[in-house]
């Protein structure tokens, strides 16, 4: 039982580091794309407002929520390995 708790704590820490890094990276990629869009577009609003609006949309988007799969995939993987090792 202690081993399971330890696995969960260590896993949670590692996955959180990955999650945070990936979130920041994905957001910066989106920001770069928005900036590009603004340069190509009609430029009818200042760049800051355009970026803010775009990033607000991004915060609500599915793509951002998909990053949560960083937590989901390892849990599924462990479940599959437990099944294959012990019950298959």
């Amino acid at each position: 039982m202690a081993a399971l708790v330890r696995l969960m704590i260590v896993g949670f820490i590692v996955l959180t580091v990955i999650y945070v890094c990936l979130s920041f990276y994905s957001r910066s990629v989106r920001k770069g794309k928005l900036r590009e869009q603004w340069h190509d577009g009609p430029q009818d609003q200042p760049v800051e407002a355009f970026l803010e609006e775009g990033l607000k949309d991004y915060d609500k988007s599915l793509r951002r929520k998909l990053i949560l799969s960083v937590y989901v995939i390892p849990v599924i993987l462990v479940s599959v390995i437990v099944y294959l090792t012990n019950f298959a």
Binding site: A3, L4, R6, V78, I81, T85, F87
Partner: protein, 210 residues
């Protein structure tokens, strides 16, 4: 001299990585199970090569019973496997069915006169000097001593992933060094050369006064 050090360092690093994978990744042996036994073990040294220890309340390692599987491999030599839970620890096989596996193996015991061959999936090393044994993970009956072991898809997948990761990090590091560190080092070397020239010049001026 520096290049010898560098080579030694990298060969050591890669040898450690290779032995890590060789120990941890699963391998399959075609064997004939000759017997099984259970033995009281108290692994206080080389604990790395045994399952998670049973600890007393005060933290001392308790002796525990470990299942063993005695076999003769299809290629002729003998091999002894241990059969232990990995539990939630390392390596991540998440094996909890040790007793079931022992029962399956007990059912597959055969003699040299009427041999039955089985494929044992295991990880780990046998070493007589350290008294360490590979840990059996699963077992199934096969047709004969020449039965195919199957393509190790998992090992191929993991090693490919690892190679891709190393290659990715390596290219990025090389690019970073080319862009940021090399120019800086060259600048420092140039500065140093200038400074040395200046200092020598100053000394010279100081020595032979006009």
């Amino acid at each position: 001299m520096l290049s010898i050090l560098r080579w030694t360092f990298w060969i050591t690093v890669w040898a450690i990585i290779a032995s890590f994978f060789h120990y941890t990744l699963p391998q399959t042996d075609i064997v004939r199970v000759t017997d099984t036994y259970e033995s009281r073990e108290n692994p206080t040294s080389y604990t790395l090569f045994w399952g998670a220890p049973d600890l007393a309340a005060d933290g001392t390692v308790l002796p525990r019973d470990v299942f063993f599987i005695q076999t003769r491999r299809a290629k002729g030599d003998v091999m002894v496997y241990r059969n232990e839970d990995t539990g939630w620890g390392w390596p991540p096989y998440f094996k909890f069915d040790t007793a079931n596996l022992q029962a399956e193996i007990g059912d597959l015991v055969s003699t040299a006169e009427a041999p039955r061959f089985v494929a044992i999936k295991h990880y780990g090393w046998r070493n007589e000097f350290f008294s360490i044994y590979p840990n059996a993970v699963s077992v199934h009956a096969v047709a004969g001593p020449d039965a195919p072991k199957g393509i190790p898809y998992l090992n191929i997948f993991i090693l490919t992933l690892f190679t891709a990761l190393v290659y990715g990090v390596w290219t990025r590091w090389r690019r970073f060094r080319k862009a940021r560190i090399d120019p800086r080092m060259e600048a420092i070397e140039d500065d140093l050369a200038d400074a040395t020239g200046a200092v020598t010049g100053w000394f010279r001026s100081w020595r032979k006064k006009p």
